[in-house]
Symmetry: C2
Subunit: 143 residues, 2 copies
């Protein structure tokens, strides 16, 4: 295999990541979830951590602050999250789920899991571990 072939990983990676997001987004729409895939990821993490600074959320999700600001704006407009003032740092907000936000996560979680698993048909646990190892290696190589 020459290096040219080798470097085609980036094309496959980009293509696949786009299709995964696109597939999930279409299913979200068909099922009337009324949120985007990225908004879902934010909701899910807030559910698991109760309350987070936008900062911490950005780090967890590997997204930048401006992107987070906008996603949270949208989620607040939908009544799924709230920004509360931070008790000790007036620069920060503590973001958390509203009661509706909690309900949303609990309702959608099993459905999202099914949507995600669709991609994995015909692949094994061993494949999963390999895949994870390679993705993490690439991620760290570029860090």
């Amino acid at each position: 295999m020459n290096e040219e072939t080798f470097s085609s990983y980036s094309f496959l990676l980009d293509r696949t990541a786009r299709r995964v997001k696109q597939y999930a987004q279409q299913r979200f729409k068909e099922l009337g979830f009324n949120i985007t895939v990225d908004q879902w990821i934010v909701l899910k993490h807030l559910y698991e951590h109760k309350e987070l600074k936008q900062n911490e959320l950005a780090e967890l999700l590997f997204k930048d602050n401006p992107t987070l600001t906008r996603i949270i704006d949208l989620l607040c407009n939908k009544g799924l999250t709230v920004r509360n003032t931070h008790p000790e740092d007036r620069r920060s907000f503590m973001v958390s789920l509203t009661r509706n936000g909690v309900k949303k996560v609990e309702q959608l979680s099993p459905k999202v899991k099914d949507i995600r698993l669709k991609a994995w048909e015909g692949l094994s646990t061993r494949d999963f571990n390999q895949f994870k190892k390679i993705l993490n290696t690439i991620y760290q190589n570029l860090g």
Copy 2:
């Protein structure tokens, strides 16, 4: 491994794909390439195929028509590509590289290859084949 863990592939995939693009984009900037990663992919494919309808290009790259329209607009503004009328179908354009576009691809190709290979440090040909197999399986599962 439970299914919840299993479905985390999508997060890793998205995260890694973003970092790969981000890394390349930063290097492009540092080295003064003056194009984006996606613009590069279009140039590269045009170099290999001489002349393509936007349609065909979109299919090759797995991008949609509006996205292609805008990328080609930008490349034409930079003097790297041209739209020529299709001899038999007045709806279509034949897109091809200008002389400057050809020069650009030839100058940047080896540099881009090096940038791409950085991600692959510490990984083997066997890893590459595994990775490719898994990405393609996922892609097809969602197709």
